[in-house]
């Protein structure tokens, strides 16, 4: 009997704790707005930002029988102006009937104007906030970031989710470069203090608006300093050695070809001359498969490959140097040469740390490119080459 009464007391104490103190964090799904995208733009008032959030409407999005009216818009955009992200968020919260839920945020799009003014103070919010996640994709929009979120995509009802997919896809074909918030922050806080983020723009064709990723935005110390074109960004990837796919077009005097990139790697090496940084050396290796051949009349495949190797090396070098010149022009060490030197030659780094910008903008880059054509595809010949007449 004593045991039973003890059990009863224990049970009631536990029940009291549960009922009086539980459910602080409860967040029923029907009281939540799932934020899928964030856009930061420069507001008209000086010093203020315009924060736009994209909310996915569950009723219109979910599968099964509960799909709402077919013509209902699947997303909702709301925006607010404030002097900081938190202030803007506060007014967004006041305007919304539901709790804003940021953990599923896919993209953080920064308008070009705002990017050029500087984003460091806003990044702090994204770093500090418990709800924010570091794997958000960071993008810079050409024009207004809000418009990007507003643009509808054909296949993905929620454009932010679509953009995230697009980034993943483009990273695979090396058209662009996905940058997560963590990478971005990490790069910005590193010795080189420069980072890149992909640029997204809206292509207007008659009445259809389409989103497209092209090129990279270069940030230095949290401020956008310039842009890299699509080709330049491929050059950037060559130096970083993280090209995973895509095509390289090669022009030779005998014909032209498209080479599919299989893999790439790159080795950086600073060359010192008596403790003075002389130049950076990059050993780039690319492995390809022939994807397309035109020309090369009456040539043996071995000859063609030799030609192609040379041509490919040249075109890679052109891409690389083009990008490098641009980054020197922008005085932004996007390659992280500084960090690299700090990591491997920490003693020497101290001597050049102070005027790194100056050193970088005059630093020579020596590129050594090794091209390896591994396969010719399904055929070793081509209609125009010797063999088929």
């Amino acid at each position: 009997m004593k045991q039973i009464s003890r059990l009863f007391i224990l049970a009631s104490v536990i029940a009291a704790i549960l009922f009086s103190s539980g459910c602080y964090d409860i967040r029923e799904l029907d009281r939540v707005s799932i934020v899928t995208g964030l856009a930061v733009d420069k507001a008209e008032q000086p010093g203020n930002i315009e924060l736009t959030i994209q909310i996915g409407k569950a009723g219109a999005l979910g599968g099964g029988e509960n799909v709402g009216a077919p013509d209902e818009k699947p997303v909702q955009l709301i925006d607010a102006v404030g002097e900081s992200v938190m202030v803007a968020l506060e007014s967004l919260r006041n305007d919304n009937s539901r709790i804003l839920f940021f953990q599923h945020n896919q993209v953080l799009i920064i308008g070009e104007d705002q990017a050029r003014t500087g984003i460091i103070p806003y990044l702090d919010t994204f770093m500090r906030n418990k709800e924010s996640r570091f794997e958000v994709w960071v993008l810079v929009s050409e024009g207004n970031a809000k418009d990007v979120l507003e643009t509808e995509m054909e296949l993905d009802e929620v454009s932010a989710v679509g953009i995230a997919k697009m980034i993943k896809n483009h990273t695979e074909t090396s058209k662009s470069l996905g940058v997560r918030l963590l990478d971005f922050l990490s790069k910005i806080t590193e010795r080189s203090a420069s980072a890149v983020a992909p640029i997204i723009k809206i292509i207007k064709e008659e009445d259809i608006h389409r989103l497209s990723l092209s090129g990279l935005a270069v940030f230095k110390k949290g401020q956008m300093t310039g842009k890299l074109t699509e080709d330049q960004s491929i050059g950037f990837s060559w130096v970083m050695g993280d090209l995973k796919g895509g095509n390289l077009s090669v022009e030779t005097e005998k014909g032209s070809a498209q080479l599919a990139v299989m893999s790439s790697s790159s080795k950086l090496k600073p060359v010192f001359n008596k403790d003075r940084l002389q130049k950076m050396k990059a050993d780039i290796t690319g492995k390809f498969i022939i994807a397309e051949l035109t020309g090369f009349k009456n040539m043996k495949i071995e000859q063609v490959i030799d030609l192609l190797k040379k041509g490919a090396a040249d075109s890679i070098k052109k891409l690389v140097m083009d990008c490098y010149k641009k980054s020197q022009q922008l005085k932004s060490d996007i390659y992280g040469f500084g960090s690299y030197i700090y990591k491997y030659h920490a003693g020497r780094w101290k001597t050049i740390e102070k005027d790194w910008d100056a050193v970088f903008s005059n630093l020579a880059l020596e590129v050594d490119i090794k091209v390896d054509i591994q396969d010719t595809g399904k055929t070793g010949k081509s209609p125009e080459m010797e063999g088929i007449r």
Binding site: I14, I17, S21, Y24, D25, M127, K130, R133, F134, E135, L182, L185, S186, T189, E190, Y340, Y342, K343, Y344, A346
Partner: protein, 374 residues
């Protein structure tokens, strides 16, 4: 049932040590901010520093195989001196329990339950620990092996899942922090997780087969744990790079980035659950040793009546011990290691020395007596 007579197997003892140290991986933020990418070196240094320390512990346990630390104090320093030394230990045990409870509360608050008051989390957890302590040492240490296996499995999974985002350049440059930051870091790691092993002197008398080789299990557990901690720190460094020093929960953030098959992308919850398991284990052991120490101090037969008042005390203590997180970090980085070093390193060493001297004197007296008798 006389609980103090509970026997645990030597392997259980060993794996208890593993979990005990492993649960401190939460505290890695303390030294990450000091030694940055070289933190893994700190683990190695700490391990080396702690080997003689463990030797002292093992020697003490060997000297008095059937006595807990508090009883050893009584034996070595006499009645009054022993009590004075024991007070230090009891304060230390209680403070450790409290600190770990507070850490748990902070962690749960920061990671999964943002709005729930700390007090609630701490109270619920202490009820849980009190429950397991009520059943005695056997229940407290029963799951040590399972927990070790689970934790190792999850560690391996997490390393595999983060492997593609690891960047091994993050470890560079090696040895490029100021020298005193290495000393500081080593000091922290050798006092905060490693030196806390002094609590195991309270339960060493309950280990089965301790006569044969307590040392083997003591060292074994310690090295396994050090290896696991090393792996955790290597993983975090490789994943997070220079972001390491900015984050307050590095392991948590590292796992947030982990991806398995694209869809299973949020294995940080595993870490949270794991940490709760570990901290439960650690707090239970600390709680058990604290009240066991009190019961030995006052020579009470059973510690069980102490559970309720002690839990209440610990809850209040852990709520009031720090005003805020910043104070916690500052103290853990600054002052605490020095106090801890005194209690974990200097006191046991003195105890051992005094006991040796006493033994020598006794022997001398004995031999002189024999000589006089002859």
């Amino acid at each position: 049932m006389k609980v103090e007579n509970a026997k645990i197997s030597a392997t259980q003892f060993m794996f208890s040590i593993v979990i005990f140290i492993r649960s401190s991986s939460l505290l890695s933020a303390f030294f990450f901010s000091i030694t940055k990418q070289d933190s893994w070196l700190i683990v190695l240094f700490g391990t080396v520093v702690c080997i003689p320390l463990l030797w002292v512990y093992v020697a003490l346990a060997k000297q008095y195989p059937d006595k807990s630390l508090i009883q050893i104090n009584d034996e070595v320093f006499g009645r009054i001196g022993g009590k004075i030394v024991s007070v230090f230990y009891i304060w230390f045990f209680f403070t450790l329990t409290t600190l770990n409870l507070r850490d748990l509360g902070g962690f749960v608050n920061k990671s999964i339950m943002i709005l729930t008051p700390n007090t609630v989390i701490i109270s619920i957890f202490i009820i849980l620990c009190a429950w397991s302590v009520y059943y005695g040492l056997e229940v407290v240490t029963r799951y040590s092996i399972v927990f070790t296996i689970i934790s190792t499995a999850i560690l391996i999974v997490s390393i595999l899942a983060t492997f593609n985002i690891m960047n091994f350049e993050n470890f560079l440059p090696i040895f490029h922090q100021p020298v005193n930051s290495y000393i500081h870091g080593t000091h922290i790691i050798s006092t905060i997780p490693f030196g806390e092993l002094v609590v195991f002197l309270m339960i060493a008398p309950n280990v089965e087969g301790k006569e044969k080789g307590l040392a083997k299990y003591f060292y074994g557990g310690f090295f396994i744990a050090a290896l696991l901690i090393l792996l955790v720190i290597l993983r975090d460094t490789a994943v997070l790079g220079n972001m390491l020093e900015f984050l307050s929960l590095p392991s948590f953030e590292a796992l947030r980035l982990a991806t398995l098959f694209e869809t299973i992308s949020h294995i940080e919850i595993l870490f949270a659950v794991l940490l709760i398991l570990f901290l439960f284990f650690k707090i239970s052991i600390l709680f058990y040793t604290s009240i066991l120490a009190v019961s030995h101090f006052f020579k009470i037969k059973s510690y069980r009546p102490l559970i309720l008042p002690a839990s209440a005390l610990i809850v209040v203590y852990s709520i009031t011990i720090f005003e805020n997180v910043i104070m916690h970090t500052t103290i853990s980085r600054g002052t605490a290691p020095f106090f801890w070093a005194f209690i974990e390193m200097i006191l046991p060493f003195i105890t051992l020395m005094v006991s040796y001297i006493k033994k020598a004197i006794k022997k001398a007296a004995g031999s002189s007596k024999e000589a006089s008798a002859a």
